[in-house]
Amino acid sequence: MSVPRRHRGRQAAAVALLALLVACGPSDLGSRAKAPPPLLATEYPLDDYGLSLRLPAGWEVSARPGALRWQAVPIENGQPVPGVYFLIARDTAQSVPGLPPTPPAGLGSFVDHSEALARKDSRRYQIAATGTVALDGRKAIWHERAYATYTTARRSYSVMTVRGDHGYLLSGSAPEGQYRRWEPAFRAIAGSLRWREPVDAAAVEPSFDPD
């Protein structure tokens, strides 16, 4: 479609404005969350995972075993909020001593496998929403998962990515009725991830453009 010369300047301004909005907006345009809470300036180094995170005010680290998971929980009235957590874990199956390494073939296979296992383990499991997001330059896929543990309906914001030989899961989870309240915090914590070592050139995906 041709554009009259007198309108071309207006069109260029509109395109520029749109580009500015996109550039200044959240990296995850698929988000339905409210504005995320402010994050603490303090970075939490997670040496075992080779990354760091920041937490919102009022959150505390509750588990740092160096083995299975790193976990943070929100604190209200001096007590952890029951049933709400944010965890980071790494697929360690490929690094078991004595066994040959079996790194994930890629992000797609890692997500597919995690998805299949979560579906197998959980009751009433479904993916309510999905999209892509950038984690400090690495492409990641997020799922909003609705599921149930023994008797509790839950919902999680789960982000999966692959770096080097490892798959990473970042997951904020809350009882179903509380999820929307905590979702902005989950997204903010995940978005604060910074790799502590430079991403090797081969792993960089320069063309990645989050949706």
């Binding site: 083995a67 299975l68 957590y85 874990a89 023994y150 989870s173």
Partner: protein, 368 residues
């Protein structure tokens, strides 16, 4: 026959009804009295002391009354079961407890989740799933075996709107084990999510519970004066120290993450945490890090071992090298626990009528 014995018999009789196995023995209101057995590490079948212990359990239930039993794990030695029709469900559960017509609420132990390498290594959680599935199988006649999920909760009476007691069963083995389960389902991000969800479930359930009493039961202890020891320091007393065996041993072997798990989800919420794993009987005092919670270790249901470090944790009672179990009564705000031991199917202590007498009994009032 005294009024107490008559009431106990009436209660046992009412529990013979199949419906009672599912719904408890009440008409919907919480009774003032609930009684149950706590027995663990039972699963030897006829090769261990299981059948002899069961005879004394029958006698105590006939004498004092039992609504149900808690089983604190290692339900099937040495490597769990391989299907819901595994014959060990008969030899190590249905046959020894055939005369105990009460529901058994069962938690998973490390031996129930073993099947890849050495016995008890905890490296095959898939085997534990068969014990869950057995709950729903036709072979589970009368729904006597109750493990509705790998971790679960139940109230007693189950039909009461305001139950007397709330119980949660912890699936401890994925949190602390000797050898990593290398299956993708039980490693890395999936097991981490499983543990976090389990912790959230338990903490949420306890904090929202309206029951008068709250209890946790698990296989692995938080405190123990036995060979396995305290969570966070598991196996430091074993020779050789199994947590230092190269290549095979998991980073969770000492139980540091399990200790943190219990402190976050159970401590100062549960009135008592029941466990097994060590094959002795202990009733250990509360410790500062865990608030009001008391600890009963009942792991002598078919195997025995000597007490390794009697001064490791202050104890109200401890006995080793003899099979036995605990019997518990909740009467309003009073908890009474009694330990029974046996030799050749006969209670170590008996009254003049030959009926079992406990080797220890203690009561305490519920603390807020």
């Amino acid at each position: 026959m005294g009024a107490r014995s008559t009431a106990a018999l009436r209660r046992v009789a009412s529990c013979l009804l199949p419906l009672a196995l599912l719904g408890g023995c009440s008409d919907g209101e919480a009774p003032q009295v609930v009684r149950f057995l706590v027995v663990g590490d039972t699963g030897t079948g006829p090769d261990g002391f299981q059948y002899d212990v069961a005879r004394v359990m029958e006698q105590v239930c006939a004498q004092r009354g039992c609504d149900f039993a808690l089983v604190t794990g290692d339900n099937i030695y040495e490597r769990g079961v391989t299907s819901v029709t595994d014959s060990q469900f008969e030899t190590a559960f249905r046959t020894p407890y055939a005369n105990l017509n009460i529901p058994f609420f069962v938690t998973l132990g490390n031996h129930d989740n073993t099947g890849n390498t050495a016995a008890g290594d905890g490296s095959n959680n898939g085997r534990g799933d068969f014990q869950v599935d057995y709950t729903y199988s036709p072979g589970n006649v009368g729904r006597k075996w109750n493990m509705p999920d790998r971790y679960f909760g139940f109230t007693w009476p189950q039909t009461a709107t305001l139950p007397m007691a709330d119980f949660v069963s912890i699936d401890a083995s994925p949190i602390t084990h000797y050898v990593n389960d290398t299956s993708r389902q039980w490693s890395g991000d999936t097991v981490a999510t499983y543990i976090a969800d389990q912790q959230a479930f338990i903490a949420d359930r306890f904090r929202s519970s309206q029951a008068r009493w709250k209890f946790a039961f698990a296989h692995h202890p938080y405190l123990s004066n036995g060979e396995h020891g305290n969570a966070g320091s598991f196996e430091q007393g074993t020779q050789p120290d199994v947590c230092t065996i190269p290549l095979l041993v998991s980073a969770t072997c000492r139980g540091a993450e399990y200790k943190a798990f219990v402190e976050a989800a159970v401590c100062n919420e549960a009135d008592v945490m029941f466990s097994g794993h060590d094959h002795e009987l202990y009733w250990l005092q509360p410790t500062g890090a865990c608030g009001k919670t008391e600890f009963i270790v009942s792991g002598a249901g078919s195997k025995t071992r000597v007490i390794q470090a009697p001064d490791r944790n202050p104890a109200y009672f401890q006995v080793g090298d003899i099979p036995g179990f605990f019997w518990v009564e909740l009467n309003g705000d009073t908890f009474t626990g009694a330990a029974y031991t046996e030799t050749n199917g006969i209670s170590t202590r008996v009254d003049t009528g030959g009926r079992p007498l406990p080797v220890f009994e203690r009561s305490f009032r519920r603390r807020e």
